[in-house]
Amino acid sequence: MPRSRPNYAFSRARWSAAQLVVLTLLALAVTALFVRAADNPSDHVPSFVEWTPETIAQASSGDPFRGMLLARHCEHCHGTEGFSDKGSTPNLAAMDRLALWKELEDFRAHKRVAFPMNPIAEDLSHKDMVDLAAYYAKLPIFYDPEDKRVFPRPLPGLAQKNMAWRLVTFGDGERGIPPCQACHGPIAYRPGAPSLMTQNSDYLLAQLEAFAHRTRANDINEPMRTIADLLTDEERLALAAYYGSGLGMQPGSSWPSK
């Protein structure tokens, strides 16, 4: 007996073709949705650096010898021994390597905008930055009367010194200013916060003002923009003079003042 041919097998095949199309479209739509949700271009991102253990390990793994060779290009401004002869150019000797590496990454990504460092950092590879950080972190901070470094500056007056000392050691609980030494050392260090103990006062003052005016905005979660904004003009001046004259060094180590 001849059986009539049911058509369902064919219609089933058609259905699965349609299914394929629908599935693909759905996948694309969902993908587009997630891609849009993932990055919001209007967000202000201060820095792409995240202090994960892997980042810290990688940024600390530099080769100081290779860094020394690369540092030839930096000597002209930052000094042969990491101490600059211009007050507005930072000293890099013994700078915390995580901080140094982060600044270079931020210069490269234009998260911190400062002539001439942006074009210089663009020419460095990621490995170069790690190696440079390793080299500068190893430089000693002995005083050499032969070279023309501007650090340390003459000691500030007593009033200025006391004002800065209080902020460095205690901060100001009333206004909610934490002590500088809780993040910049020597009491405790936060990743990416450089030690300020051998920094030039002109540079420090310029950075504090830049943070306060938000022209420098690469500090993760805004600690420095907040603190610099809370400080008064005199306090910023006093703090720059305090660190810039070598007073931030631990008590006990003597520093010859000019």
Binding site: R5, P6, N7, A9, F10, A13, S16, A17, L20, L23, T24, A27, T31, F34, V35, A37, A38, D39, N40, S42, D43, H44, V45, P46, S47, F48, E50, W51, T52, F170, G171, D172, G173, E174, R175, G176, I177, P178, P179, Q181, A182, C183, I187, A188, R190, I220, N221, E222, P223, T226, I227, D229, L230
Partner: protein, 186 residues
């Protein structure tokens, strides 16, 4: 095979095989691709729960990016306040809210365990890294409320203080879309 394809099916076996093969390839490609392009991040984040954040990446994406911190005006008149607690600061350092409206506080920590305590009260919101603490507040009167961290968090702990400035409702600035209020906006 002869039974399934031969007599009852107009579509030849090889097309069906091809379809099955293509579908399998598509699905197999989709899975590593979503992982590679991190398209599944939001999905994973959602699966992990909406109260969880990565404390080391608050500044890069998500709810606690800089421009989303502060006071957000909601359509129903209430406000949402988003803050970060970190060693040894609250960000934003000064919060501006209108008096007499519900305030939904959402706060997370970037490092250690902190707390947001309203001084001269015993009200206290504990803040831990990785999770979002929520609190429903309401300030009946205008004024300045001092807040402090009451969970020892390190060398600068005792200076970890901030402020909530409550203004009458009509003095609260009208915020544009996407704009967040803090004391600087006043």
């Amino acid at each position: 095979m002869a039974f399934r394809g031969g007599r009852y099916n107009h579509a030849p076996v090889k097309w069906r095989k091809l379809r099955t093969f293509l579908l399998t390839v598509l699905i197999l490609l989709l899975i590593p691709a979503t992982r590679f392009y991190q398209i599944d991040e939001p999905l994973l984040r959602w699966l992990r729960g909406k109260h969880q954040v990565d404390p080391l990446a608050l500044h890069v994406s998500g709810e606690f990016v800089e421009n989303n911190l502060g006071t957000e005006q909601n359509a129903d008149g209430s406000v949402t306040v988003r803050m970060i607690a970190q060693q040894y600061l609250f960000i934003p350092h000064c919060i501006l809210v209108p008096a007499g409206v519900p305030v939904h506080l959402r706060i997370t920590s970037a490092d250690a365990v902190h707390s947001l305590a309203f001084m001269s009260t015993d009200y206290n919101v504990k803040v831990s890294p990785g999770s979002i603490s929520e609190a429903e507040l309401q300030f009946p009167k205008a004024g300045e409320y001092k807040t402090a961290c009451r969970e020892f968090c390190g060398a600068g702990h005792y200076a970890m203080r901030s402020e909530v400035r409550v203004v009458p409702r009509d003095q609260f600035p009208a915020l544009r879309d996407g704009e967040r209020g803090n004391c600087a906006a006043q």
